[in-house]
Symmetry: C2
Subunit: 355 residues, 2 copies
């Protein structure tokens, strides 16, 4: 039975990326060694990281004013690494609190300086993006989560602010054409649209750095990673390689324009099906619905459990909602095929007609 992988992350990857990765484990580029066995300072691997960086720049349409880093530790590490590098103890950073991850990011920042919550959508259980934010002009930066994986909301356009804008793009990076230049620092865990779990992309303007007094541990100082070209210590070689393969795939398929087109098509199909079937309820404000993660419910908990069981029986993986939210969550990352969304919608219609 064909599996339809709606995992929220780690999640579906393109079949050809998996095939190339599998091959490289046995023999990388025909050199007679595994990708797992080559030194990270070998020209073999330096070529990998350089090509990956160059593809990131090309896909994001950004220039040399930005540095591209591949780091470890997930977005959760960035939650503290960003303020550790950018925020002095006496300064204030502003955070938009539109979900569990943004809220966690703000909590980490409070260890390093003052945190101002510029806006929150907690009042309505994070079912919308609160764009009515207030940011003191003295804020060191404004932090937003561009897509809320857990709650199913997404910023559809980005604010113009006078201070540096920082975006956690973990769950929608490379899924749409946006003006990345609006951001001064972007970070993303790889395990959704970019590759295998175990590597973070961090894209930042170098001029953000060196403006605080705190002494930063060597491994957490962005400056050191920039100087060492992401080879400060042994990087997650394989995870970076899978990112490269995925970046190549994105480019070859038509770049972010094409990813966005496909993404909108999948999301439109799913949301219109949800909205057409009264048994399903998506509480997310229509203008803020995420094209990556659709979160919705069946009011009757027993029926919902029955539906989730039915999904499992039909090879639909990863559709149970996040533990704090419940309900149903369907993630539609770049590598998810339209046919999987169609199959899921068929199942929904079938279930609705019987209940």
């Amino acid at each position: 039975m064909k599996k339809h992988n709606f995992n929220s992350g780690p999640s579906v990857l393109p079949q050809e990326v998996l095939e190339q990765a599998s091959k490289a484990i046995l023999n990388f580029n025909g050199i007679g060694l595994s990708i797992l066995e080559i030194g990270h300072r070998s020209t073999w691997f330096v070529d990998v990281i350089e090509e990956a960086k160059s593809l990131v720049r090309e896909l994001m349409n950004i220039g040399d004013e930005y540095e591209v880093l591949f780091l470890q530790g997930g977005a959760t590490t960035q939650f503290m690494q960003v303020p550790m590098n950018l925020l002095d103890a006496s300064e204030t950073a502003s955070y938009c609190d539109d979900g569990v991850w943004g809220s966690k990011a703000a909590k980490e920042a409070a260890l390093f300086g003052n945190v101002h919550i510029a806006a929150s959508s907690k009042d309505k259980k994070y079912t919308y993006i609160n764009k009515n934010f207030d940011v003191p002009a003295t804020s060191k930066y404004l932090h937003i989560t561009t897509n809320n994986t857990v709650e199913g909301t997404q910023w559809q356009s980005f604010p113009n602010v006078s201070m540096p804008l920082i975006g956690d793009m973990s769950s929608d990076i490379f899924s749409r054409e946006i003006d990345f230049k609006k951001f001064d620092l972007i970070y993303a865990g790889a395990q959704k649209n970019m590759g295998a779990a175990g590597v973070n992309l961090v894209v930042l303007k170098k001029d953000l750095l060196g403006k605080i007094e705190r002494k930063i541990p060597t491994i957490l100082d962005y400056k050191n990673h920039i100087e060492a070209n992401s080879l400060l210590n042994t990087p997650p070689v394989f995870a970076i390689y899978v990112s490269l393969l995925t970046l190549r795939w994105i480019k070859q398929e038509g770049g972010l324009k094409e990813m966005e087109k496909r993404s909108i098509e999948k999301a439109n199909l799913l949301y219109s099906t949800i909205d057409s079937l009264p048994i399903f309820n998506c509480p997310i404000a229509k203008e803020d619905r995420s094209n990556m993660n659709a979160v919705f419910f069946i009011e009757d908990e027993n029926l919902q459990t029955e539906f989730l069981d039915l999904c499992k029986e039909n090879g639909m993986i990863g559709v149970k909602g996040y533990r704090t939210v419940g309900g149903i969550r369907v993630s539609m990352y770049n590598a998810l095929e339209l046919s999987s969304v169609k199959a899921f919608c068929d199942l929904m219609r079938d279930f609705a007609s019987k209940n």
Copy 2:
């Protein structure tokens, strides 16, 4: 031509581990999904991490007084994470400075408290292990590097001290039978004897924790990782899986006793060949020579370059010494076959006879 992989890390892995890893990228355990596409909280992956932890305990012969964690960021992250978790600003930690890595570890600790260098072998360019250390009784802990990858020295027995003993075992973990219970905290980057780059093993006694006043960022607090069972955030799924495969392989081959036997055989063959050929010079004190990384030289730099070129021509990979040390370095991790050392010794003898 067969490649002989003497890389210092990332380095050679067992062929069957590579084959299993390659398969799992296409279809993990026959479930119809790639290991790269499964959720980290799925029972599939929880089974992986639990088995890996259990094998670590079994191979190390340690009990429940120790916690086993799989973290990210390499040993360099542990350099700061250890003192951040264990050392208050007014306290002192002792470090043995027997090489570049121990020296870097001490430097990071100085950001968090006072550092006492208990012994150093810097006086003789780190060509021996200085066992003549002095540790103040009030030291919060003593930190040693059990094997110096760069300089080619190794602790052959471990000190008895009254304070917690911490070991960076990145380059000799699982290579020999030792009394791991002498240590209170052990850490090791995976990319040598344990698996793929991108995961760290940290084994620690829980009672070390909670004894300082510093507020620790969520992701850097060992306590949080213990409570979350190494699933605090998305872990490096694939790197942990490769570690599991390697741990299984170690057990199946006969455990640490057998790894040690093979390791001694390989090292004895190499060092006796070096010592028998006057053109090669190993400056490392005999009793401190590493069974993992042999560091040696040809005095005439031109001849040395000629020899390194010859190695390359003969498929001997990764034998150039570390950039700050120079010379020749031959790494002989668990997965390196005796036949590779034999081939290398043949090449040395051949070269010596002609020069």
